[in-house]
């Protein structure tokens, strides 16, 4: 469970997040939508402290994590992150991409880590790509590897930062399917996305962020079917 209280983030003079408070419960799938530049990616990146909040608190399972005496590496093990640009390690095979962190961080045996990695690759439909290098994969395949890599650490929560925005349209579906399976298996997920169809189908809750605040939130039916704010209506009319 992630809880944020009055989360603020500024880059110099630019205030990107203006006091967000929100709780993400276990096994919940939350989609974050909003116009570009609204702060949704920054919000997500504050959850695993890739961005250090300028103010406010972030709690993971009741424990405050944006504190100087917290071992952030230990926290990040529990928070899987998937990026828009995949960020696979290009100098390693797919298999090594998946086993690096389990071996080096968790101290897993190489053989056990590899077996687990192969199982994960199987679940994302890429069992035959284990020995390949990332450069030889398509965008959709890269992103599925990136998801498997995050899952290899057995995270409690998965964070997705516009996971399909850099993909060719015909590859979006394969990635969303993997994410849908994850959701159905009870993974807690926070997803920044522009895929409204996916949000409507998979999310338990949708947050609409605008100008650094959560302007409106609700179930997909509420938010997409009956938006309250003009800004929300305006945004949805453009993207739906």
């Amino acid at each position: 469970m992630i809880e944020v209280k009055n989360l603020c983030k500024s880059f110099g003079d630019l205030q990107v997040l203006k006091g967000i408070s929100e709780t993400i419960n276990d096994r919940e799938v939350v989609c974050v939508i909003g116009p570009s530049g609204s702060g949704k990616s920054t919000f997500l990146r504050c959850l695993n402290l890739l961005e250090e909040p300028s103010g406010g608190e972030v709690f993971l399972d009741g424990k405050k994590i944006n504190d100087s005496d917290v071992d952030i590496d230990e926290i990040r093990e529990k928070l899987g992150m998937v990026f828009q640009g995949f960020n696979l390690f290009p100098h390693m095979t797919v298999l090594d991409n998946l086993t690096l962190a389990p071996i080096k961080v968790k101290g897993m045996e190489k053989a056990a880590a590899e077996e687990k990695a192969r199982n994960l690759l199987e679940t994302v439909g890429l069992a035959d790509k284990a020995e390949k290098y990332p450069a030889s994969l398509s965008g959709g395949q890269k992103q599925r590897v990136a998801i498997a890599r995050a899952l290899a650490m057995d995270p409690e929560i998965m964070l997705f930062d516009e996971p399909t925005s850099a993909l060719d349209p015909e590859m979006v579906g394969e990635v969303l399917n993997v994410m849908k399976n994850l959701a159905e298996n009870g993974m807690t997920m926070v997803i920044v996305t522009h895929e409204m169809g996916f949000a409507r189908e998979v999310a338990d809750r949708v947050l609409f962020i605008d100008e650094g605040n959560i302007l409106e939130q609700g179930t997909p039916a509420e938010l997409f079917g009956n938006p309250q704010h003009d800004r929300t209506k305006n945004f949805l009319s453009k993207v739906l």
Partner: protein, 224 residues
């Protein structure tokens, strides 16, 4: 013609010394340079300051002067302070240290640019997986940076091979010194130094070819 062939043969006898000094210096410089490059990225201001001064001094003074300070100045200083006899023994140590330290300043800049060239997303991905900053450097950033800087490292090696000729000034018998000794003994200065030049050319050209071959090999593993 015979003098020229003899000049080459004489100079060639210095090749092992020149190569071993260059190799030790390039490896030592690489390790030292990596430390300096990391110090330059440190969050501690003092460390960054020390690294900057280190690089400035070594790049801002001639290698010849550094070699003279180390080879002649330092033994005298040690004798004055400790009152004990001190000589560089074996003399080649001067070459290892002077060239290694000098090269580390250039290496530091090369490595720094290499580290900077690795996409920030790589660091973010590694940190997100729970790797600490050291592990991220070691397993993710440095291997990629290394690939980027291979050509520059190769050039530095070639430069070093040529610059070790300066060590002949403190009596280390490498390629240039072999030529000088033969020239002063036989009065065949022109053939002697032409021989020296030819031997350097063979070493540097061979190495340049080797580097571009390695570059191509490494690029291939990206695509396979």
């Amino acid at each position: 013609m015979d003098q020229y062939i003899h000049g080459i043969a004489v100079a060639a006898r210095g090749v092992p010394v020149t190569l071993i000094i260059s190799l030790v210096a390039v490896l030592g410089g690489l390790v030292l340079g990596l430390l300096v490059a990391l110090a330059k990225r440190s969050k501690f201001k003092i460390l960054r300051g020390i690294a900057t001064v280190y690089v400035d001094i070594l790049r801002g003074t001639p290698l010849l002067v550094q070699v003279l300070i180390l080879g002649y100045g330092v033994p005298q200083l040690v004798r004055a302070i400790t009152g004990m006899q001190f000589n560089w023994e074996p003399l080649i140590l001067v070459g290892f240290i002077a060239c290694g330290v000098n090269s580390s300043a250039y290496m530091a800049e090369i490595i720094r640019s290499g580290l900077q060239a690795v996409d920030i997303g790589q660091t973010e991905a590694a940190r997100s997986l729970g790797l600490n900053s050291r592990q991220t450097m070691r397993y993710v950033i440095v291997p990629q940076a290394f690939k980027i800087i291979v050509p520059a490292l190769g050039n530095e090696f070639v430069t070093l091979i040529k610059e070790t000729s300066i060590l002949s000034m403190v009596g280390i018998v490498e390629v240039t010194r072999r030529g000088t000794l033969w020239a002063s003994q036989s009065f065949q200065s022109f053939p002697a130094y032409i021989g020296v030049a030819v031997v350097y050319l063979i070493m540097t050209l061979t190495l340049s070819r080797l580097v571009s071959y390695m570059e191509r090999r490494m690029a291939q593993s990206d695509r396979s």
